[in-house]
Symmetry: C2
Subunit: 302 residues, 2 copies
Amino acid sequence: MPEPGAGEVLCRTRYLSLDPYMRSQIAGRHTSGAVVPGDVMNGETVSEVVRSNVTSFSVGQLVRCMGGWQEYSVHVASELSTVADNIDPPSYALSVLGMTGLTAHAGMIWLARVCAGECVVIPAVTGGVGSIAAQLCAARGARVIGIAGSGEKCRYAIETLGAADCIDRRSEDVEARLGKLCPDGINVYFDLVGGSILHAACRNLAHYGRVVLCGLMAEYNRADRTPGPAPGLLIGKRAVVSGLVVYDYEPRRDEFIRECLPLVVQSKLTQREDITVGLANAPAAFHRLMSGQNFGKVIVKA
Amino acid sequence: MPEPGAGEVLCRTRYLSLDPYMRSQIAGRHTSGAVVPGDVMNGETVSEVVRSNVTSFSVGQLVRCMGGWQEYSVHVASELSTVADNIDPPSYALSVLGMTGLTAHAGMIWLARVCAGECVVIPAVTGGVGSIAAQLCAARGARVIGIAGSGEKCRYAIETLGAADCIDRRSEDVEARLGKLCPDGINVYFDLVGGSILHAACRNLAHYGRVVLCGLMAEYNRADRTPGPAPGLLIGKRAVVSGLVVYDYEPRRDEFIRECLPLVVQSKLTQREDITVGLANAPAAFHRLMSGQNFGKVIVKA
């Protein structure tokens, strides 16, 4: 257990968020930097203040911070933010009201500006980002087509997340099904996975279709990279392809929470969590996430 | 010589525009459709009315139309537009004030919204689209870096088109030079060529850099297609990549001409034309265009 210095706060990890970007940090390819052997793995946490040398945070209070894959972490006050009392369970501060929720909101609402009546395709639709994106788009009157890794996940996408339909990528021909389910083309594709599904989606784009590039789940475990869609295809579609890095939207996090917290409190926005107990089990939980065996946002309860 | 029917106009080709998209039509891959053996090659022309069965066009008048690679063409009135008397030479209605000028304006002004102080990279910078794009961007205070196929073209880009610098793609390492000439990254890349230069430009994009995909000059003669930049690169750059098809901007052609004609009349916007005399020489001129031997907008004078 480290000692907090002057102006520092000692925090104990209560919940740790596991996210695919961590794989990219291990590979040294992430925009936020690399994690090398000997480093503590990065990770957003909901932590409890156990000792405080600042006036703005007091012992027992729950905070959100980059605590990492460890029991205790020390922070200056500017690295901490309060977890509001009405965020229940507190792990929601890491999922629907945390970075994954912010990513979904930034991508679909602020960047792609999804509108009623539009056809939106979301892969990994039951995952942390996908599940919030689906609900936000459906709530705006968009027709959401999900893509997921099992029949059970597809049913969940339709019954709980508001998807109009969902493609089981393990048992169905994704491109052929996209063609059938989106006869007028895809207006918005939220690319959380990269790889062949990105190409299939681009071939099925509507004219002026928007693609938000956000994640590369299908690629993080590979050394090579699938190239992007051919320029000629994007020209013919008049496509608009935008790269999204959620950190850029950090200044708008409060605005996002103001908008989404009421929806969560009213159960209009739900988050299925895939909770593993015990920090020692984080590596195994991360492996399950990276192989698509999780079902919902992956959280480790310390 | 065909006979115009009721409501039709017989036109004689005076100037024919040759453009790279024609190669793509021959390959059957262009968004506007295919040209197959036995068809007349498509092409925009400035033509003279020689017989008219409509009241809105009279004999002797110059019109712009899709006359094609032929001496005479017959049109209904809605397919013709008047070439204003002050467009001098009339071939400018096919270049700076025609489809190539409209493409440059649509791409750089309407779509990319180039601003003063931005670093804009334009390949094929002495060609039909590139040369107008360079002048429009420089006039807005952007710092234009051209790419061209010879030292002579590079000098022209700097001395006449307002480029701050120009890379000779045949004798220089384009990517290394882009890195040096754009130390803070490229804000806007106007992709008229595809291929390796697109990838080099994307690796040198600034954060939030915009790429306007417009042409594939480097690829039209090949059966395969270079894939696009990897999604991970575009994410890290927060890039915005947009496909441009000039036909979509046809309704704004008058607006474009209102803005640019005064600049042409005042010689603030110039067009170097590469003129071949005689329609029979159009195939040879087209071959010169596709191999980059032209210098300026390629026009055939009938």
